[in-house]
Symmetry: C2
């Protein structure tokens, strides 16, 4: 027989999944409602409305896909990319590769550029590629958690709109942790994740898209066999589960049957979004910036080197160089084992070279910043690394007490 | 500002989502763990082991897909069906149409038969079609919630194995509510749902498949771009999110990065499966049969007619004829409004003709059976229907007191 579930209380300072808001965790213990229960339909409407605020959009089509963030990305890309469609993906880290992978599987003729991990694109670089390749779709990551970089999007958005190109943005790591303005930046489709700055458990992908995207979806629409007259469409989307042309009808007043919406996760998301609205996006973004400052100043005071430059750093992820002679995985495991504090390893070319420290959502608070600095310093000292003892916490406290 | 979440306490007697076990709801409020936290990896292993018991299988590949049941169905079918592959779907209700829809989108050359809703296939009927069409895959529903029918599978399973045909079964409505023996019945792949007899919230699709299925997946495998050397495979699966060849590696000791496993839902599933093991499948199946008997005898004593025959009735769903002159939706809505008791409408040709009453998992218990009989009787009387007043509860109590 298995024992009762016992979960240790971690301080999660990774780029996700991060600690969930306690109110969110409590909301999930509410009883189940049927998917067509009037009270449940009302919650669906409320979530849509709260998501519009979160994404800073007026888009009617703003809802969630029941899956992790990559399910949302695949839903959008497989909905708008048809066989042979030209797609441009500017890669600057691991998740640009994921956008490429998904676009290729959707049948796209995918053009990529890749710059050194730890840098971002200038608008001129992107413009040049767009002018040469002339894609139907540009898909790009906003905050690359693999490198801690943030790609500016406003100029790109306006240029894509001008050229009638669809711009799809992965804002999984940034949504509500830093400024993100869907409509103002002219972004056609955006996908977020629940387990990052929203501080809701993993398993839902909030997304939004405008009428330019919806037009394509409607052209490719096929009514599900068995629900109405069987329809045929030779441009039909290859997935049923992630077919946005069907899912948007389930989220519309028609409530056309598709999947059964994930009840408890929707309660969680509603509570998480309600907390965001109570705090306000403006205050929330300031809070992320404030704690990032304390974290960065602490790490630097300890004598560690921050990876990458300041001007394009994403405020929600801080990458720090692993000191020479240290096996990075040992440090991480000892931090969990002794302090119950988790930070993240790196991917690809950065593996073993940097740690990634997240400061997202509910995890992004003073005691967590102080805990991660303390645990990292003590662990490094035990590994024989020369650090400036005691300085990190003082530097961080100086920020908090200023 | 939005109000605090207030969820009414429903008695959910539909074929899902049903009431979640209170212990399951509490498990979800445990704090988040990182996806590579050793404690979380351990929970993943435990869930796999518990699922093997649930599916009655020794299959190594037994895990969950993070999405609703249809995500699991699509993962299996899009993994094994390649363009032009012959697939046979014997339809006997709404969810046979869903299997067809998904098989077609996966590129299958799909042959279907459809029999009158409310009946099931004899083995001879299925054998004849299989012999004539000679498919690579047969995909069939075990318990059709749309009609309340249960298709016998044992002979079909043995015959498919003999002919080297892959048999894929949707056991979403039956798993742990009635006997289901994956290995003994020679079924190659099975998909369940959490929100039915498992009494866990919607949003995960438990599944299992054997080495015959795995062989095809491995032939079609492509390593995700950005994780290792980019691999090319012209038989590659079209979906990334539901690519079982990748997901099975995330669930293997390799733990190759794919999605971020849905933390709180996995806690919920572990607790739900633990309850099933504590109760034992044998006792759980008996409990479903026992409450079904009380429900059916109650409905008949009230003077209502049960839809379909007894020999192929699925024990977890009872379909009952809507009395003449009654608008079925009015009755359902009044039952919710006055009694907080939910029963389900029907699909397709049965719309307006039957109600579907579920008795699944935690919802399948004495007080719920008595509540649904009481609420239905009172509501029908107010609609002017002549019923045998007071008889339903007496008949049900007779079963419980026997």
């Amino acid at each position: 027989m298995y024992k009762e579930l016992v979960i240790p209380q971690r301080t999660i300072m990774t780029p996700g999944p991060v600690e969930a808001e306690p109110r969110v965790l409590r909301a999930m213990s509410a009883p189940i409602l049927g998917q067509y229960d009037p009270d449940f339909l009302n919650i669906m409407d409320e979530v849509q409305d709260l998501l519009r605020y979160t994404f800073q959009t007026e888009n009617q089509q703003t809802f969630v896909v029941d899956g992790t963030a990559r399910a949302g990305i695949e839903a959008v890309l497989s909905g708008i990319i048809e066989k042979g469609d030209k797609v441009y993906v500017p890669i600057f880290g691991r998740f640009g590769h994921l956008l490429t992978e998904i676009s290729k599987r959707a049948g796209g003729d995918v053009h990529t550029t890749e710059i050194e991990w730890g840098t971002t694109y200038s608008f001129q670089q992107l413009k040049k590629e767009i002018d040469e390749f002339n894609p139907k779709v540009v898909a790009i990551v906003h905050g690359e958690t693999s490198t801690g970089r943030m790609q500016p999007l406003k100029e790109l958005g306006h240029y894509c709109r001008e050229k009638d190109i669809l711009l799809v943005v992965d804002s999984v790591a940034t949504l509500t942790g830093t400024e993100f303005k869907t409509d103002e930046w002219k972004i056609d489709a955006v996908i977020g994740g629940t387990q990052k700055c929203l501080s809701v458990p993993t398993g839902m992908a909030p997304l939004t898209y405008n009428e330019r995207v919806e037009k394509i979806l409607l052209e490719r629409k096929k009514i599900e066999q068995g629900l109405d007259k069987d329809s045929f469409n030779d441009r039909m989307i290859s997935t049923n589960y992630l077919d946005l042309s069907q899912i948007q009808e389930y989220w519309s007043p028609k409530r056309l049957n598709h999947h059964t919406e994930a009840t408890s996760m929707l309660y969680a998301l509603r509570e998480g979004l309600r907390i965001i609205k109570e705090e306000s996006l403006e205050e929330r973004i300031k809070r992320h910036k404030y704690n990032e400052k304390a974290l960065v100043e602490g790490l630097e005071a300890m004598g560690l080197e921050i990876f990458g430059e300041e001007f394009d750093k994403v405020p929600t992820v801080t990458c720090v160089m692993v000191p020479d002679g240290v096996v990075e995985s040992e440090v991480r495991l000892e931090m969990i084992r002794n302090f119950s504090v988790e930070i993240a390893a790196a991917f690809g070319p950065l593996t073993g070279k940097i740690w990634r420290i997240g400061s997202m959502g509910y995890s992004c608070r003073k005691e967590n910043v102080l805990r991660v600095l303390s645990a990292l310093e003590a662990t490094l000292i035990r590994k024989g690394v020369k650090v400036n003892r005691g300085e990190a916490l003082q530097a961080a406290l100086n920020v908090y007490e200023a």
